[in-house]
Amino acid sequence: MDYYPHTPDDIAQMQSVVGIASIDELFADIPQKFRLKSVLDIPAALSEQETIAAMSGIASKNKLPQLTLTGAGAYYHFIPAVVGHIVGRAEFYTAYTPYQAEISQGILQAIYEYQTMIAHLTGTEIANASMYDGASAMAEAAVLCAKMSNRTKIIVARSMHPEYRQVVNTYSWANGYTVVEIPYAPSGQIDLNALQNELDDQVAAVLVQSPNFFGVIEDIVPLTDAAHNKGALLVAGFTDGTSLGILQPAGASGADFVVGEGQSFGNPLNYGGPYLGIFAAREKFMRRIPGRLVGATVDKNGKRGFVLTLQTREQHIRREKATSNICSNEALCALAAGVYLAALGKNLRKLAELNIYKTQYLKNKLLQLKGWKEVFSAPVYNEFVLRCPDARLANEKLKNEGIIGGYELHKDYPELENALLFCATEMVSKDDMDKVVAILK
């Protein structure tokens, strides 16, 4: 299958307008010695029917589980049908960045609405049009704090998602910043004393997540206070966005930036991507934040309209002085998130409650198993950590029944041998959970 509409006749006519006798002449600037002589070594072309067959074949090599009890940064939530129908509108998904506002009011307004919902949800005043994902949003926030403050130390909670910490490390290394990890307390929250000890006037930012990787809810107010006391900024992340339906958002607790993964809002698991980075901030940082911003304005007749604004922050104008290098973002995922949030409305709280009910049920059930114990004492949203006699064996048993068990924390936390991080969303039924416990008995 191919997709160029040129007939031999078209090509001949066009060649004559261009003044060439053969297509090859168009490539005359490529030095002869570099001109590819052989055909690319990739599989032969497929018809559309063959394509479907080949791709279905590959897709079916994956084994979809009956049930997933792993969250750990990617969450299996129900996606209302409307989301796919809207995101599938060709006018949205075959457009690009709305550089030409008058012809792009659709995506511009949708993103403006998304920004508003995210700002409200995170308890901040502003949010950008999206970053690549939660981890890179976190890393960009860290770099931004360092650049704004001319400080070079980044403090990260060890209870933050391990991959987020890795990305923060990578971005920090590239910019010559040092990263210091703060341990967690027995509660599962960040160790406030250790944090305070580490806070000095070289600290640009304190990065935490709430709920954190252990599902534990952090107490943001004292963290903000501690950071601000030393002139550092507080960047608060979250794991599952639906938690924002019920938890006090970090923005309302004084955080300077709230960044996190927006996948939970209407985006499928997709084996890890595309997702979307949420990036929200205090108003005062508006001209410093990375990413696109849609702003309301008026047209010549005073009619409301929307444009990309504050573009002087961006790379295509400011180049090396830009607030970030980001160009393409995750607009369609942000659109999905906006539709999802607008669809649920206040039901987001109900959904969050349901997640809590399910989680409490699963936790209590598992705790009845012999040798299973709670690891942390602080409250959790929809994830929790239990230590069990043999985590690998437990997961093996579940896998044999088509169930993805808990995330094995020893991979990232050697000290947490046999600790499993479980997640129970609204997709997990009581019967499922009873079955899980029966299997593990």
Binding site: Y4, A174, P274, A322
Partner: protein
């Protein structure tokens, strides 16, 4: 149109929540009152209102499926529908990123093969699919360059970037701690070799080159350029956003590029989603392979697995494995077209650009009059001089003719730039009518300049006040 907040009404919703099948718990007890929010200010609308709102919004947006979208440097080709159908197969959408490798063999195979195909198409030793977009790929590539010199214990704080480069290039350099030095273009739109020679010192980590560059011109002296950079121990970075210009014709690896990022959403036809998601794989030559981000896919016998055991890696640059579902579409595209299809696509893309260039040459200034590759760049200088009609005006007027405007005011070295990239999926008829529109506008600019300056005349809003938007930014709706 009203905002979703403005049509909101307490008590409505478009998505319900299932009743609990487990006992409710007291939330305050379970979580603690201080951790709970008291407000939740989201829109409340019925499903019918939600659908109408967004459907009507969509109708105020222009996409490739509606018409010609010659946005230069963005490769807005038509995206085949079969790719969309493939990408929503439950096997691809349903898997958790932490599913064990055994359960994800399909995905791993696809990603592994994709890396191999890209390596072959671009002549690189190895690819990573982790970066989420082109600029993210740039960053990843530059980080590997940084790591390379770090490992060699060489301090090279500078990076060279041509004046034609896309803004992401210097910004990526900066986000990676490099100081960027601007390299001048010569009179034919290529690298000024003398300038390059003077800049390329042992302090310079390398050169970020886009080839063909953003003027749509192939760097004739590429061999020389590579020699100079490599001669001083530097590395040559390739911005592959313009790869649609040379598939099957030449391979960056052969040309001397050490690292290259691709934009799958451009070259490999994944839809741009109103601004993303994209995908920005990075390919490296052999000497940089160890620095690739982790995790990487390992093939053992017939099975695939993730491995993080690469001590020299730059680390991770995002969570999980990249924009996997975008990769599925690009992979499908490559499999559909095969080698000849890709090559022919490039040929038609280049033919289309040259066709437009020839047809519009009499009407607009063409600063570099040579064979172009996948795009051509005009200047609106003449129209400014004649009647004060600017490139913005021309762009806005094109909207009235049913086209998305080209990229404008970029590259920066061309005053009043009009950068037209037709891509291969456009027919001669489309190009002809587009050129007719451009010519009509050129005439209008002479005969009725005000009309052009008043454009667009057919859109739901007329020209928007961008200055106001920036002066009094309103980026978040507030209840009044």
């Amino acid at each position: 149109m009203e905002l979703i907040f403005e049509i909101s009404k307490p008590g409505r919703n478009a998505a319900d929540v299932t009743a609990s099948d487990v006992p409710a718990v007291n939330i305050e007890d379970a979580i603690g009152k201080k951790y709970l929010r008291t407000d939740l200010d989201l829109p409340e609308v019925a499903e019918v209102d939600l659908v109408r709102h967004y459907t009507n919004l969509s109708r105020r947006n222009f996409g490739v499926d509606l018409g010609f979208y010659p946005l230069g440097s963005c490769t807005m080709k038509y995206n085949p529908k079969v790719n969309e159908n493939v990408a929503v197969l439950p096997g691809f959408t349903g898997l958790h990123p932490y599913a064990d490798d055994e359960s994800a063999q399909g995905n791993l195979q696809l990603m592994y093969e994709m890396q191999k195909y890209l390596s072959n198409i671009f002549g690189m030793a190895e690819f990573t699919l982790q970066p989420a977009a082109g600029a993210h790929g740039e960053l990843t590539g530059i980080m590997m360059i940084k790591k390379y010199f770090e490992k060699k214990n060489e301090k090279r704080p500078l990076i060279l970037i041509p004046d034609t480069a896309h803004g992401t290039n210097p910004a990526s350099g900066a986000l990676c701690g490099f100081e960027t030095v601007t390299l001048r273009s010569n009179s034919e739109g290529g690298v000024d070799i003398d300038h390059l020679m003077s800049l390329m010192t042992k302090d310079v980590a390398g050169l970020m080159l886009t080839n063909p560059n953003t003027l749509g011109l192939f760097e004739r002296n590429i061999e020389k350029v590579a020699q100079i950079v490599h001669g001083k121990g530097g590395l040559l970075y390739g911005d592959g956003a313009n790869a649609n210009a040379f598939l099957g014709k030449a391979r960056p690896g052969d040309l001397g590029f050490d690292v290259i990022q691709l934009n799958l959403h451009k070259t490999f036809s994944t839809p741009h989603g109103g601004g993303g998601p994209g995908s920005g794989p990075v390919g490296v030559c052999a000497k940089l392979v160890n620095y690739l981000p982790v995790p990487r896919i390992i093939k053992t016998g017939h099975s695939y697995s993730w491995s993080g055991k690469f001590p020299d890696t730059i680390g991770r640059i995002r969570s999980f494995y990249g924009n996997f579902n975008v990769v599925v579409k690009a992979y499908t595209y490559i499999r559909s077209l095969g080698a000849e299809g890709l090559t022919h696509a490039t040929e038609m893309a280049v033919l289309n650009a040259n066709y437009i260039k020839e047809k519009l040459k009499p009407y607009f200034d063409l600063p570099y009059d040579r064979v172009c590759m996948h795009e051509c760049v005009f200047s609106g200088k003449r129209q400014v001089a004649q009647n004060g009609v600017h490139t913005t005006d021309i762009a806005k007027r094109l909207i009235d003719f049913g086209y998305h405007p080209p990229t404008i005011y970029f590259p920066l070295i061309v005053p009043e730039a009009i950068m037209i990239e037709p891509t291969e999926t456009e027919s001669k008829e489309t190009l002809d009518t587009f050129c007719d529109a451009m010519i009509a506008i050129a005439n209008e600019a002479k005969e009725n300049p005000q009309r052009v300056k008043d454009a667009p005349l057919t859109t739901p809003v007329s020209r928007l006040d961008e200055v106001l938007a920036a002066r009094k930014p309103d980026v978040c709706w507030k209840r009044s």
